[in-house]
Amino acid sequence: MSCQYLLLLMLSVGVSTVEVHRPRGVPLSRQFYEEDKPFTCLDGSRTIPFDRVNDDYCDCQDGSDEPTAACPNGSFHCTNAGFRPAFIPSSRINDGICCCDTTDEYNSGAACQNTCDLGRKEREELVKMAEIAKEGFQLKQQLIHEAKRGLEDKKAKLSEIQSSKKDLEAKVEALRTVKETAEQPEKEAKGRHMQAWEQKAIARKEKDKAKMTEVFLELDDDADGVSVAELLSHSELDPDLDSSFTEAEAQVLMGGEDKVDPASFEAVWNNIKEKYLSESNADIPAPVETAQEETPVSDNDSDQYPEDDIPEEEEEDDEEDEDDDQDESDYKVPPTERTKEKKDDDDEGTMPPYDQETQNLIDAQKARDEFDEAERALREVDDQINLEKEISFDFGPSAEFGYLYSQCYELTTSYIYRLCPFNRVSQKPKYGGSETNLTWGKWSGPQDNIYSVMKYEHGTGCWQGPNRSTTQVKLTCGKETVVTSTSEPSRCEYLMEFITPAVCQEPPNLDSGLHEHEEL
């Protein structure tokens, strides 16, 4: 009943609705399709009757009879009146998803609405973008101009510097000899002084250790290590001197332990030695062996998952047995740390000033100052010689990126990102934590636009990630020079968005720009 109807329909597709007689999805500019004449596929592969053009069946291998979904790899032209015309892949015809003028959905039953008006917004956006590009491009011209002039200056300066460098080097060498001669007596005197001091320090330390051993034995009544109770018998050790020396206070002095053996007593000793009053003046016992403090080294693979919030399976397995016991002790401050603090405060540890005789010898200052000054002058010259390196950088086809050299740009989120073009990129947590640095690698945009992406390399590696992390800096055109965003698309690979006028291209005529990709 309706098969014929269907067939008629299929044949009439090309002519029934479109106001101009041309195949659906073909722009007006195309002259290949002439009604009533047999159609030859554009690749010349065959000729078909015109009623088989646009009948939703693919006859031509190149798809030229059917800019619809019937042929693969074709493209379909949406006029998109009021907006910009576009070619869409033929596979998107009648798929229920509309282009703005809805002409692609002529047979899908999709409830399409012409939204090309909405496209105006996009058009306005494009106009704005073009405006920016235009201004940016002007800025770029300026940059190029400056870069050119700067380069000439730099080159001139470089040759000037290179010639003066030699003189300076000679001067530095001469002054170095003078300085070293003057410094010799001073150095010897200082050395003598230092040696004497060190010997004294060793003697003092030994004495202290002997005292410690003595006290340990004195405290340890029952020869099973010093306990809190034993410590309590020395009320002079009460830290707050409130006349009640409590167990808790004693335990603090004991570094949280109930009992310590000779090996761990050193920590306790450091806490009590200032106040401790000996019970008797017994003989100093033979020195005991120096105790070695050991903090348990956890031997696991936790660096596989560097972030703490991700529990790692293997690690859990290996440690699960110890977890319970460790949990409590983990919170305690290991005794060694306190010891260190104490030592640092110890004012006995500072070397006394040089004696007068030594001081008198220190008259090499003048020679030193002269030498330093000469050396500084040479360094400055050397710095300027770095111009050589600067000149050697690839600052773009017209050196337009040169102005970025020796500048840095920052962006702060929960991290502080710092981009110093042609030098490095760094990332540092806002609140504490170590900085990650990557160094300048190369331009790495696509072949036709190599100056659109910078690559920084040699960051630290990541577990199962690449050996070294990298950062891509994507450059887009704008009036300012600013880092706008950073992200980590996959672990250890960072992406930074950077706006600079230096990448602005001459804006094409707006209208013609919207007509790109016209070729089939």
Partner: protein, 945 residues
């Protein structure tokens, strides 16, 4: 735009029609070359020896020796069974035989039940006659109480009984002393139980050092105890019976030893398959020189290949096959299980076998299997075939078939741990459009949640999920978000509070809520064994409960073994308690229940209209009813690509057809070549998803240069063009239980050359795929089965004869796929952005003629996403080509469905150019067809609109 109303179009298109082709001449392409298959086999073996530098930490997982019941059971060697059948206790009703067995050593009695089930299945159940407390019997796996058939007594004497199994010539012989059970057909023994005397049943007993034991022993069962302890030798208490340690984990074993074991002998069998999940060859190996195959759902970090270690899922089903018959053993037990396999021919070389043959000393080959489980009862279904497909339908009659998934889920899935935020999702989505690559699903892993609290969204990264979902929906695409079964213990988390207040958490041995460590930190595990818990869980997927969800959002259940980072073997303690049962009894069932409850939730949220899609990592027998599974956390290595084939084939054999492996490999970073080859392989496997670890670089298809983008695009497009065939396969699997991805031997059961093949496979009956899985391959050798078959290369249409090893030169674009002569395969060649975009597109029929110049195929069409097919809303037609006429018959005359699709083209392979083509349709429809005679591509193109 006028267009005839849809119904009439559909009717016209699909109604009976005949295409008459005249002047056919067979086009033959004789092919040369027999290449020896030994070559690839050797290479593979070498590769096995060289791997192993990077692998699982084996120390985290038990060997048989470290699992006390396995060690105890395995210490028993074959010999005379202590069990004796007490024939005087036999009771035979129409449907059931019961009989007591007694262990002569300890006088403990067992009850044997034997049923004849419909469809050539025999069920054997053995339990303690009077257990101290009930032993676990697995619920919810069988789709119903299996219908029985009459049993009749043939003969009986003091040595045993003979029963007839239904109408066939099958008999069961129960021998009394020692007890053994043989199933015979004619004079052949199909299977023997306890023939090696390995039946054991560790009866439940009182703990001797406890108060309760002392009380009991003085009061209630004095007599029993006298019997047990005075008359018989005192039971030996071995280490690990009442308490067991593994690493630092203690298993309190309040019920003591409870293991069961039974041996099966399979005379005439040299090939056994199944018992997934293992990263091993398709053909199971003998286990005499190592550990048995283990079935215990575990989250194995960086699993190792080619060994019998347990993995994420467990299906206790084994198939046995020889040229005469296929049988199956379904051991319905959810506890930790070990399967030992031995064979009397395994040690022999081909030469040795020949020598036996020449000298006439050959004994019948035989495979012996032994199942050992930690607790529960023996409940075993002997599926007696005789054909592979009979076994599939027998198993399907017990546990159901593959769920019929939404068509879109057969498309390509783009996954990564993790797509970082909504912008990321949007830009990946746009990337597919920009590069003109189709895809249907984008996936969100755990990072999308608010601090690993499932059912929530990260408030910054995924602030407006519905906006994101709508954006995908506008392009007819979908999203999957992960929901794992470990629940963060956090009093500000609604889901946790509800589960806790309802008492829905699994309990620890002391009765408190069980807590383990997983992604969110400290977590509870909902007790999915409770029906009320599952109902509540399902209700959480309602659109108003699961905030930010929409109808194009589906679910992924990961970590449902369950994974417990700080638990023994990275899973739950065996003495954790689910209702009345220990995890020990039920363990392997947990994952099934999670997926079941989730799938129910997705069904219910649409009022039962829409089909769910749920991917699960853990599974058990019956999980096929709830969705898809994948092979877990594999790695970006060539061997992992290769193993994806036997792993999915083994799953298919036990009913789980919707299987795939992470494309590209989850851990590590694939080379570009490996990635491309993996796409090409995955495009021809049922579940087609790319996935990657958080710490690996991005690998969306367009990141490897235009050439590789094109190769990947082409592989994905081939998948989309074939979606009608895939969908039809799923419909078929849903109806019958046949595997979709199937080993060659399933279709060529009499060709021993196919029995161990696992580097190529069939999709349905008609497509043979031999993916390129070797690095730097320049060619490969595919075995084309079938003496009377011809096979057509689907890309070049070149014809090859069956029963040959065909050398195929390959380039990077090659995906060797062959269509069987005699088949008709529907394709949709207008590949679009997503499968839904292709819904109304026309079909192209690829008719490949066999030597008789005939072909047959099917076409199945429905709406692709609802349950309306259950209400007969579909089109199912048989297409046949014979005598130069292509015709179609309605296979479901009572079904009705309207489609706007039509058949636009018929491509006939193996015929020559017709001079004339006509189209006939029933009723009034009639039209002239033009034949595309100019085409140089194929013998004949026909226009059929």
């Amino acid at each position: 735009m006028p267009r005839p109303n849809d119904t009439t179009v559909a009717e016209c298109i699909i109604l009976e029609r005949q295409v008459v082709v005249t002047q056919n001449v067979l086009r033959c392409s004789p092919l040369s070359g027999f290449l020896c298959r030994m070559v690839p086999v050797l290479v593979l073996w070498l590769a096995v020896c060289l791997t192993g530098t990077w692998a699982v930490d084996r120390g985290n997982f038990k060997t048989c020796d470290q699992s006390s019941f396995c060690k105890r059971q395995r210490a028993l060697k074959p010999g005379e069974s202590p069990y004796r059948a007490l024939l005087e206790t036999m009771e035979l009703t129409n449907t059931r035989l019961t009989l007591q067995l007694i262990n002569d050593n300890n006088k403990v009695r067992l009850l044997l039940e034997l049923y004849r089930l419909q469809g050539n299945i025999t069920r054997v159940k053995i339990n303690e006659l009077k257990p101290l407390k009930p032993r676990y019997e697995v619920p919810d796996v069988l789709i119903r109480e299996p219908p029985t058939e009459p049993l009749s007594l043939l003969s009986q004497d003091e040595n045993g009984v003979v029963l007839s199994l239904g109408s066939e010539s099958q008999r069961v012989i129960i021998s009394a002393r020692p007890f053994r059970l043989d199933i015979m057909e004619g004079s052949d023994v199909l299977m023997s139980l306890n023939s090696r005397g390995l039946l054991t049943f560790e009866h439940l007993r009182m703990r001797k050092d406890t108060f309760s034991y002392k009380v009991t022993s003085t009061v209630a069962s004095v007599w029993d105890n006298i019997k047990r302890t005075t008359k018989e030798e005192e039971e030996k208490v071995e280490d690990g019976m009442w308490e067991e340690m593994f690493k630092s984990h203690s298993d309190s074993k309040p019920n003591g030893p409870s293991a069961i074991s039974l041996d099966f002998s399979l005379p005439g069998v040299e090939h056994v398959y199944g018992i997934p999940e293992h990263a091993d060859t398709l053909r199971l190996k003998t286990t005499e020189n190592g550990d048995p195959y283990r079935l215990y759902n575990l989250d194995v970090f960086q699993y190792e290949l080619y060994n019998p270690m347990a993995l994420y899922g467990a299906v206790p089903v084994m198939l046995a096959h020889n040229t005469q018959r296929t049988t199956g053993i379904f051991w319905l037990n959810a506890a930790e299980t070990w399967v030992d396999i031995s064979s009397n021919t395994a040690g022999k070389t081909v030469f040795g076998k020949m020598l036996d043959y020449v000298q006439g000393s050959s004994e019948t080959p035989q495979t012996d299997v032994r199942w050992i489980s930690e607790s529960g009862i023996i409940d075993v279904f002997l599926m007696l075939g005789p054909t592979p497909k009979d076994v599939f339908s027998q198993y399907a009659s017990l546990t159901g078939t593959q769920s019929f998934p939404p068509l879109a889920s057969l498309g390509y899935h783009q996954c990564r741990w993790n797509y970082n935020d909504q912008e990321d999702v949007q830009s990946v989505d746009a990337g597919f459009d920009e590069h003109d690559i189709p895809y249907d699903f984008i996936w969100l892993d755990i990072e999308h949640t608010d601090g690993k609290r499932y059912f929530t969204w990260d408030p910054h990264k995924f602030a407006t999920p519905k906006e994101m979902l709508q954006g995908l929906k506008d392009k007819k695409r979908k999203l999957v978000a992960i929901v794992d079964p470990h629940i963060k213990i956090d009093s500000n988390y609604k889901i946790h509070n509800e589960i806790r207040s309802r008492g829905f958490y699994v309990k620890n041995k002391d009765g408190g809520d069980y807590e383990g460590w997983c992604w969110p930190g400290s977590a509870g595990y909902p007790d999915f064994f409770r029906a009320d818990m599952r109902a509540w869980w399902a209700s959480m997927f309602a659109y108003d409960k699961y905030e930010g969800s929409m109808e194009n959002m589906y679910t992924w259940n990961d970590m449902n073994e369950p994974s417990v980072f700080n638990g023994p073997e990275v899973t739950m303690h065996k003495d954790a308690v689910h209702g009345a049962w220990e995890n020990r009894d039920v363990h392997n069932l947990y994952g099934l229940y999670v997926q079941m409850a989730t799938a129910d939730g997705l069904t219910q949220r649409s009022g039962g209209v829409e089909r769910p899609f749920v991917l699960s990592r853990a599974f058990f027998a019956g999980s096929q009813r709830y969705g898809a599974v994948w092979t877990g956390d594999n790695a970006a290595e060539w061997d992992h690509l290769k193993i994806s084939i036997p792993m999915c084939l083994s799953l298919g054999l036990v009913g789980m057809s919707f299987c795939g492996a992470d494309i590209g490999g989850f851990f590590k970073t694939p080379s570009t070549e490996l990635l491309v080859r993996w796409y090409q392989t995955g495009a021809y496997q049922p579940f087609f998803r790319a996935h990657a670890h958080l710490d690996t670089p991005r690998r969306e298809p367009w990141l490897f240069g235009p050439e590789n983008t094109a190769l990947i695009r082409e592989a994905i497009r081939q998948r989309y063009a074939l979606l009608p065939y895939w969908y039809q396969q799923f419909y078929h699997a849903h109806r019958t239980g046949d595997p979709i991805m199937r080993p060659l031997w399933v279709e060529y059961p009499q060709d021993p050359a196919t029995f161990a093949v696992d580097d190529e496979y069939l999709i349905g009956r008609d497509l043979l795929v031999h993916p390129v899985t070797e690095e730097g391959a320049r060619g490969l050798t595919a075995y084309l089965p079938g003496k009377d078959e011809v096979w057509f290369d689907v890309h070049t249409f070149q014809k090859h004869n069956g029963a040959q090893n065909l050398y195929i030169p390959v380039t990077m674009s090659s995906i060797p796929v062959f269509q069987r002569g005699g088949s008709i395969i529907p394709r949709k060649v207008r590949v679009r952005r997503s499968s839904e975009c292709m819904e109304h597109d026309p079909y192209t029929l690829y008719v490949a003629l066999n030597l008789q110049r005939t072909a047959e195929g099917e076409l199945y069409i429905d709406d692709g996403h609802t349950f309306n097919y259950e209400r007969k809303e579909f089109i199912h037609r048989r297409l046949s080509f014979a005598k130069n006429i292509l015709s179609s018959v309605n296979l479901a005359p009572d079904a009705q469905f309207t489609t706007r699709s039509w058949i636009e083209r018929v491509v006939i392979l193996g015929a020559s150019k017709p001079s004339k083509v006509t189209l006939k349709t029933a009723g009034e429809c009639f039209a002239f067809l033009a034949c595309d005679v100019d085409s140089s591509l194929v013998p004949c193109y026909m226009l059929a609109n």
